[in-house]
């Protein structure tokens, strides 16, 4: 009978919905009460910042925003922060996505930051090539010709009519058409296809530096590429976004969310400890009773 169970036993088998409720309170409170927790910038984030900071005005960056609404909460803060940094440096951006649900999110971020905040001109300062199916195939083909993969931009305009991609070089060829014409590849990745595939298919093959912002779930896998210098920088999850926002001095949702995030983590750690203590206490009690 549940009523006759010792309190420690009842606590160990407490309804999991209590945990949901405790977590809800833990992450809601910091949204209303200012809890300033220090944000320490990690070397991977410093690497990301340094790679963008090293760009010169007029340089071109390929911005691969490979994500969808499922990972928007984690990746939108880093996309906006990275675009802010690139626009501030007067870098020209070729943006595209390999995720079918990505284009509206990318368009919203470009509208908000490049056009809204920095008044950049579409077609000259940045272009949005939209979505292309083909995953690794697209990555490899982009190294041969951007316009062969994306004959039109997201809005259906032929890329030859966009000043950024229509320019010719001294030899009469396209000035901007492959990864050779790009200084850096910025990838914001929610999974497959994403950072791992860009590194495998593009980093070595076309010798282009890559920085990545990825979801926390895929961050442990991508850390290996930092050590081997295949990635110049990495933002892992919301904490990576918060650190990067701190570096560029533009606090956004990443910074606001980190206090709640941290309190949520502390709560989970405490709950895990309580669960373990209860388990061992009850196991000892059961042994003694037997």
């Amino acid at each position: 009978m549940a009523g006759s169970e010792p309190i420690l036993e009842r606590l160990e088998h407490a309804d999991r919905r209590w945990i949901f409720l405790i977590m809800l309170v833990a992450i809601t409170v910091p949204l209303f009460l200012r809890v300033d927790l220090p944000i320490r910038v990690s070397p991977e984030v410093k690497g990301f910042y340094a790679a963008l900071e090293a760009l010169e005005p007029g340089d071109i960056v390929y911005f691969a925003a490979d994500y969808d609404p499922g990972s928007k909460p984690e990746l939108d803060p880093m996309i906006k922060a990275a675009l802010d940094h690139l626009c501030r440096k007067d870098v020209r951006i070729i943006a595209a996505t390999l995720w079918p649900a990505g284009p509206p999110l990318l368009e919203a971020a470009l509208d908000s930051i490049a056009m809204g905040r920095y008044h950049k001109t579409y077609g000259t300062d940045f272009v949005n090539l939209g979505f292309k199916e083909g995953k690794e195939n697209v990555m490899v083909q982009l190294g041969k010709s951007f316009r062969a993969v994306y004959p039109n931009d997201y809005y259906g305009t032929p890329v030859g009519e966009l000043p950024l991609l229509a320019a010719k070089n001294a030899a009469g060829g396209w000035a901007v058409d492959t990864f050779r014409d790009v200084k850096l590849l910025v990838n914001i990745s929610a999974g497959y296809p994403g950072t791992k595939e860009w590194v495998q298919q593009v980093r070595t093959r076309y010798d282009i530096p890559i920085v990545s912002g990825c979801t926390a779930v895929s961050a442990p896998e991508d850390y290996a590429y930092i050590r081997s210098n295949q990635l110049s920088g990495l933002l892992g999850g919301l904490s990576g976004a918060a650190e990067y926002e701190k570096m560029i001095g533009v606090p956004g949702w990443g910074t606001v969310g980190m206090s709640a995030q941290s309190l949520g983590h502390v709560t989970i750690v405490v709950l895990i400890l309580i669960g373990n203590v209860l388990y061992f206490l009850n196991r000892r009690r059961r042994k003694e009773a037997a």
Binding site: F20, L31, A101, K132, E136, V217, L238, G264
Partner: protein, 234 residues
């Protein structure tokens, strides 16, 4: 409270999905099926407009049109891709299902080729190359000797040990997956160290996963409290 109908719609659906935390219920099921249906429709339209139209219908249409005006274009080869694509559906007809193996074989072969080259060149070799490191990184011993203060000495000590720990973790973990020798005695202890490294790595992955899930919950909370109800959050 928001006056935007779509915000209300999104809020109601968010609450419907979250109601599963209490227990499975018809409201949750309705929201789930609605999501699956909408997502299927969205992806179908995206793939139709983004893949089928520009890669098949437009070039083949232009190619067929060209035949009537005496202008042949090689885009007509795409009819072959259409036929291969249609052959995938023969799996639904048992008598002809064997023909679906041809396009499937082509797909598997092409993607394997691409993935193997990418993995071998960009991942496998690079990671092996990166693992060929000295036991102690040059300069770290000197940095440790020169460090002052607890924090600086701790960081310098960790730098000094970093390569050794990495090599120990790499070798012991690889040994754990070496099954041609029974893991007893010394080899058992090495494999045990490998397990510890694996556990630490799983723990790190779990921590990152928790962070990701809390981020998602936070964003929904922000949406409900700020965008929908209109409360001012910091």
């Amino acid at each position: 409270m928001s006056h935007d109908l779509w915000i209300w719609m999104a809020a109601i659906l968010t609450l419907a999905i979250m109601s599963y935390l209490y227990k499975d219920n018809p409201v949750y099921k309705t929201a789930e099926y609605l999501f699956v249906g909408v997502a299927s429709g969205y992806f179908l339209s995206i793939y139709y407009n983004n893949v089928m139209v520009p890669n098949l219908f437009e070039p083949v249409g232009a190619g067929v049109g060209g035949l009537f005006t005496g202008k042949f274009t090689w885009d007509l080869w795409r009819v072959g891709a259409l036929i291969l694509g249609m052959m995938l559906f023969t799996r639904l007809i048992p008598r002809f299902s064997w023909t679906s193996r041809w396009p499937m074989g082509l797909l598997v072969g092409a993607y394997s080729g691409l993935a193997i080259i990418g993995f071998a060149q960009g991942d496998f070799m690079s990671q092996i190359q990166d693992s060929l490191i000295p036991l102690v990184e040059p300069g770290t011993a000197g940095a440790f000797a020169a460090a002052h203060g607890f924090t600086a000495r701790l960081i310098a000590a960790l730098d000094l040990l970093a390569n050794g720990v990495l090599l120990l973790g790499l070798l012991s973990t690889l040994y754990y997956f070496f099954f041609s020798q029974e893991h007893i005695g010394f080899s058992g202890r090495v494999a045990k160290v490998g397990i510890w490294f694996l556990m630490i790595s799983f723990g790190a992955s779990y921590g990152f996963t928790v962070m990701a899930r809390v981020s998602l919950a936070l964003d929904r909370l922000r949406f409900l409290l700020s965008d929908w109800i209109g409360l001012r959050i910091i």
